[in-house]
Symmetry: C2
Subunit: 132 residues, 2 copies
Amino acid sequence: MSHRHTDVTRQVADACPVTEVLDRVAGKWSIGILMAAGEGPVRFTQLERSLTGISRRMLTLNLRKLERDGLLTRTVHPTVPPRVDYALTPSGAELREALLTLTGWARRHGGTIAVAQQAYDREHAVDSGSAR
Amino acid sequence: MSHRHTDVTRQVADACPVTEVLDRVAGKWSIGILMAAGEGPVRFTQLERSLTGISRRMLTLNLRKLERDGLLTRTVHPTVPPRVDYALTPSGAELREALLTLTGWARRHGGTIAVAQQAYDREHAVDSGSAR
DNA sequence: CAGAATCCGATGCGATACTG
DNA sequence: CAGTATCGCATCGGATTCTG
């Protein structure tokens, strides 16, 4: 992986820096992690339990990515057993605030969407038109 | 594709409906489309030009997905040549508002992130420690 | 406890060609 | 103009195994 910027995507990013930024929140877990980390310094296992269903692999990868983007800090306590705390940076905290607006919408319209989907599916199903 | 809810993910969605909703904004283009569609009724080609770099395929797929979610409407004018207008629904418009908060953050911190990444890469590079 | 490494299936997305 | 259909690569993400 390293630090490639997906060469092609870059051209788009030039015209729309927003897209580039959003790409790093696009993952399946990124947002959840930022949310969970907002409650203050959190440990690895803590996050693992908050994000029900996440694998160690993905947690680590996303954590590293967010750290690289300067959205959260990783503090290693040289104890035994090892202990690592994750906390949002100022930028990360601001992002989390912005995301709250989004999750707020999600809570308000989550049900609405499910209904809309079912209506759509009923209408666009293998339907012979108005047969029924 | 149809309407599978990725059985496993469902369990997570139950605990966190937010995740489920965010999944439909997670794509590379969804957000851009919602933004572009916010300016009022927009035509297919219009969108295609706004979202620099998008392929017809992805535009269509995302459009259909958003329509299915009840976030935008698709109006076909039976003329020749055909003409189709896309417009946000009330839900979609609200989502767009929420996303503005996010894109606002993006604009403020886009540069910050790039810097953070480079600093991170310099520090975590194939570095032999303090040799330098 | 907090990872790193590897394997592998599922999905995203782009390029291209065809259509009403 | 506004799609649809098919192909193929790249990335995402899960399961498993090994380590300091």
